[in-house]
Symmetry: C2
Subunit: 345 residues, 2 copies
DNA sequence: TTGAAAGCGCTAACAG
DNA sequence: CTGTTAGCGCTTTCAA
């Protein structure tokens, strides 16, 4: 049960602990005789030696640990992953990290915790933060001296790398598409709009497309709540209650779009016959639901992969400066949109 | 940029490092004068001190880290979380851990890696492993001296705690339900059946229910592949190709059931009119898809919560012996099943 | 090519 | 009530 340490290996092999450390790490340009190497390796194997990375990090100042902070979207809500977007992203992050010899330290975050301290506590080598807003307390992060990459955040700070998409253009693309399909009265369904948040950008894009087409942005076409399936259903309820007449909706998240669609269908509104829907994200669910969702596609896995690679690059090349990745967006057509000829209503 | 250590705090407060450590940890039954406590706390705050948990763990022999190992279901496939079951489970685990002052070390696992070494590397205080099979190399885990809890595994080893459900009975319940609804010819759609795996138990349950009703288990009613949405669609394709005549299907995972349903609907088979479907898990998707899924409900969040609590208990009470939690299963009726009167076919 | 020794930051006896 | 001190397991000068 007693952990075998480098000391035990050293004794077993009849060498010093330093030597063991040398052969185990084999820095370039170091030289240990083949024979000693052999002896040490055998001893380690015989003793079933497993290095203690915590101890290593204490002297080597790196942990091979990447901290992943995911916001607890709704305060008090345990379930961060009700939006599959996070699951998909995390998968990619984990996979890429592991392939490169890193492990993940995963933590949700409550508003009252500051991101920096958990990172410092554990001495992570890099940090991935998903979806923070400007104004959240990120200052401390700047000073802890490890690369930080912000995914889907409009915080602009020369200290942080970013991975993102053009939310505004994606939204414009989606809305435009609906307009091209002959829709004039288009709802905007979204999580709450917070300044410089992803949703506010998407709202801008929606407005731009409407205005460009000479269409009014009506207050009563806005359905704002939380990014959740539940709110999607509530929005559907409101739509029906109000006797709303929008023939299409741009919904800023697939999960929300699915809730909206479900709620509508349950109330006898048919999709896309009565109302067309375009979502955003293209989570894998979008093709699994019924009707499958026409949506703004982004490469979620790539996002996660890049986030990790960004950190690895920064680690390798500490003064390369800030990196900024913008991933492309496309529109994936499925079954939730129907063309509306001019006369119809 | 230089990290401030306990030493700096000690100097600033004019006390020894031990004292600082004492006030910071405040063990029960220790006593430090209010004044010193005050001084130390102020010094720490002034210096912006953040403890280094790695260093702490080196001397205290615990890390406040729980290792979570999730199988990479399909070899080479990056995307562990295509099954939302894992996302939901992980959410609960993360939340419970964090509420108790633990962080999560997350790692997927490839077949060739042994679970024990990563745990030892990082010195985690406990390990949660999701869905391993007997025969996978778990021996090393037995000897590393930290509590291990197996979630959804039929490995029986007195060294490991377990959290699970009665898969066989759940499957029996589902199949029986279909039989009660008047179905005689019932398909079994599932991931591959591996000895003592979850799916094999569910298969047993299916067989039992069929036999108890005097119904034959036909080879051609078995659709076996992987637990994925894709395979669900393939199974649907096979169903249609074969001109199969089953009027119902028990599908061993919701994600699979959704793929199956989608594939069928695309091929003009209507659900539940032409074929009824019962799933398993009750992931949140099950109520979001269309038609919503009648399924065997299990409390996934509770599973994750218990897994963590199990570890905490074991840590607190090291020789309390092996714990085994079996969570209840119920059948949740939604829209994917239709009664079939005797004469119909 | 190898070893001795000084830490990394913190905890935990043991003294005082 | 507080300080001294000896590690925890490992890396890394510096010498030999």
């Amino acid at each position: 049960m007693k952990r075998v340490s480098i000391k035990d290996v050293a004794r077993e092999a009849g060498v010093s602990t330093a030597t063991v450390s040398y052969v185990l790490n084999r820095h370039p340009g170091e030289s240990i005789s083949a024979e000693t190497t052999q002896r040490v390796l055998e001893a380690a194997a015989r003793l079933n030696y497993v290095p203690n990375l915590n101890a290593r990090s204490l002297s080597s100042r790196h942990t091979n640990l990447i901290g992943v902070l995911i916001p607890q979207t709704e305060p008090g809500k345990a379930f961060v992953f009700s939006n599959p977007f996070y699951g998909e992203l995390l998968s990619a992050i984990e996979y890429t990290a592991r392939e490169n010899g890193y492990h993940l330290l995963l933590s949700g975050t409550r508003e009252d915790q500051n991101y920096a301290s958990i990172a410092q506590n554990r001495g992570v080598d890099g940090i991935v933060i998903v979806g923070t807003y400007p104004g959240e307390n990120l200052d401390a992060l700047r000073t802890i001296g490890v690369p930080v990459v912000l995914v889907d955040s409009y915080v602009t700070d020369s200290a942080f790398h970013t991975i993102g998409i053009r939310d505004r253009e994606g939204a414009r693309m989606a809305t435009q598409y609906l307009i091209e399909k002959g829709h004039r009265d288009i709802a905007f369904v979204s999580g709450s709009i917070r300044e410089n948040g992803v949703n506010s950008k998407r709202y801008q894009g929606y407005c731009e497309a409407m205005q460009a087409a000479g269409l009014p942005v009506r207050q009563d076409a806005l359905y704002l709540g939380t990014v959740s399936h539940e709110f999607g259903q509530q929005a559907a309820d409101m739509y029906v209650q109000r006797g709303a007449k929008q023939t299409a909706a741009f919904v800023t998240a697939d999960i929300l779009a699915m809730g909206f669609a479900k709620g509508l269908m349950e109330r006898g509104v048919s999709i896309p016959k009565d109302i067309s829907i375009v979502g955003f994200d293209d989570v894998y669910l979008a093709q699994m639901c019924y009707p499958s969702l026409t949506t703004v596609h982004q490469d979620i896995a790539q996002k996660g992969k890049l986030a990790v690679q960004c950190i690895l690059d920064a680690l390798e090349n500490p003064n390369a400066g800030r990196m900024e990745h913008i991933l492309p967006l496309t529109l994936t057509e499925r079954d939730s949109v129907e063309e509306r000829s001019a006369g119809e209503c």
